[in-house]
């Protein structure tokens, strides 16, 4: 007399394949998730199926705080002296299994090796932090809002942050100003409010969600302190102009142009050569003002020749007419001069 008396105590045996699906996020199972393991046992006694027996056991997934800051891109930001609103770009990432706020701070290096090599030797000014409000990866003044913290950064997401500063005048090419962006993990409790700084749970596990720090010691960071930073540089590319004024006697009333002497009536040509050293930024808006010596008279027939070239130390006669003269003062504006190029302003006078 065998009668099957299978009484199914639970339906967990029929769980679908979705039970063991992997979570979408690399940060892992959300903090606070209760994970339950259930097992069912079927057996017979005397060949007769018995009641199914089941057991289960649960634990809570705690919070693993892992944040990182990285420079976006691989090169320093090139700036010119006097430039305002120059941005370095960073990415702040939340690799935790819970949402976080991040308090932000931008600081400057004081000497020492900069992130892209070279030695930090100046400071930028008016340093501010801005969000990438329009999400285009570029700093847009007026659109990208100034911030002091990142609000409610979801698990497994990143945000772009700009450190924006002004560059002082008087710096030379290859001067370096290093900046550091530091993020500190904070609770993401209320929106639009920076939460309290997170601390690691010390001591034994609690029934609430505990916190473990998992940030790394990459690039000089301290591991597992809930803080992470990265550095980037501003590197100066300046124009480096030197102006040289030379003169030569063109003619005198007696010798003509053959071995002329510097006597009253002689014609003297002045050449003002502006050289921009190789590797410099392009110089623009080059205005030259020259006051004639009182013993000379401007030669208006020759005029002023701008943007001539030099061969060695000789000013070539290849400039074009321009500039102006008034009351013994010659003025002229040269075209843009790129690094490694020399341009001249040439005019003539007669010796009184």
């Amino acid at each position: 007399m065998t009668r099957n008396m299978r009484l199914l105590a639970s339906a967990s045996v029929l769980a679908a394949a979705a039970v063991a699906a992997s979570p979408a996020s690399a940060a892992g199972t959300a903090a606070g998730t209760t994970v339950t393991n259930s097992v069912t046992l079927e057996y017979k006694v005397g060949g007769i199926d018995q009641n199914q027996v089941s057991a289960s056991d649960s634990f809570t997934v705690d919070r693993k705080v892992n944040l990182s800051v990285a420079e976006a891109g691989t090169s320093a930001t090139t700036v010119t002296p006097g430039q305002t609103g120059a941005a370095t770009i960073f990415t702040v990432s939340n690799a935790s299994n819970a949402p976080l706020d991040f308090a932000l701070a931008a600081t400057q290096l004081s000497g020492g090796t900069a992130a892209h090599g070279g030695t930090d030797n100046f400071n930028v000014t008016a340093v501010k932090i801005h969000a990438d409000t329009n999400g285009n990866g570029t700093y847009d003044p007026g659109t990208d809002v100034e911030i002091t913290y990142l609000d409610q950064v979801a698990a497994d997401t990143s945000r772009t942050v700009f450190v924006v500063a002004d560059v002082p005048l008087g710096r030379s090419t290859d001067d370096v100003a290093g900046v550091r962006l530091t993020a500190t993990a904070a609770e993401a409790t209320a929106a639009s409010t920076l939460g309290a700084t997170i601390t690691q749970t010390t001591g034994a596990n609690t029934s609430a969600v505990d916190t473990v720090f998992a940030d790394t010691n990459a690039n000089g960071n301290v591991a597992r302190d809930g803080i992470h930073f990265a550095e980037d540089d501003y590197v100066i590319l300046a124009a480096s102009l030197t102006a040289t004024k030379t003169s030569r006697v063109i003619s005198d009333p007696f010798n003509g142009t053959t071995d002329p002497k510097m006597i009253p009536g002689a014609v003297v040509e002045y050449c003002i050569a502006v050289a921009n050293s190789t590797g410099s930024a392009t110089a623009t808006g080059i205005d030259i003002t020259d006051t004639l010596p009182p013993e000379t008279t401007y030669d208006s027939a020759f005029g002023i020749k701008l943007n001539g070239t030099m061969t060695g130390s000789t000013c070539n006669a290849d400039g074009t007419s321009g500039g102006s003269h008034a009351s013994g003062i010659v003025t002229g504006t040269l075209n843009d001069i790129v690094g490694g190029v020399t341009r001249t302003l040439v005019f003539r006078v007669s010796v009184n």
């Binding site: 009668r3 063991a20 903090a31 057996y43 018995q50 009641n51």
Partner: protein
């Protein structure tokens, strides 16, 4: 008379109540590597405590036949919890499923079919269920343990 016989047949497996003497527990433990007594790292199993994604788990199933009859056909079925990725078991009586419990076998024999119909060999993380079928009878009063390992996802 027949009614009595039928009743008796119904009541005969009073051993049903003895069957409820088979007890079963599930215990999740965390495997951690800690410095041993001589300073060398040793692997210990602990109560879950603080558990975060990436931690290694061991699930230990303990059974005991507290009845006075041997039990046969012992089959334990354990779905892998959603937040855990299966990594292995040392029990030779275990078979695995990657399709929600429809088919079973050793991991090397299982395949996963993708949405486009192509199939690839299954890996440990694909396992959805583990089942142990014990061929030997479990004697009255005896107990045993089965286990599998996983990682918190």
């Amino acid at each position: 008379m027949k009614i009595w016989l039928a009743l008796f047949a119904f009541l005969a497996p009073a051993a049903v109540s003895a069957a409820d003497n088979v007890s079963l527990t599930s215990k999740v433990l965390v495997e951690r590597v800690k410095p041993g007594p001589d300073g060398k790292p040793v692997t210990v199993r602990e109560e879950p405590g603080v558990v975060t994604p990436g931690d290694r788990l061991v699930v230990v199933l303990s059974y005991r036949n507290g009845g006075d009859q041997p039990a046969t056909g012992f089959t334990l079925t354990n779905p892998i919890p959603a937040a855990v990725a299966f990594t292995g078991t040392d029990d030779s009586s275990a078979v695995l499923s990657v399709d929600g419990g429809k088919s079973w076998g050793a991991l090397a024999s299982l395949k996963v079919v993708g949405a486009d119909g192509t199939s690839r060999p299954a890996v440990a993380a694909d396992v959805t269920h583990i089942r142990w079928s014990l061929r030997q009878p479990i004697a009255a009063g005896s107990r045993g343990e089965l286990s599998f390992r996983g990682v918190v996802e």
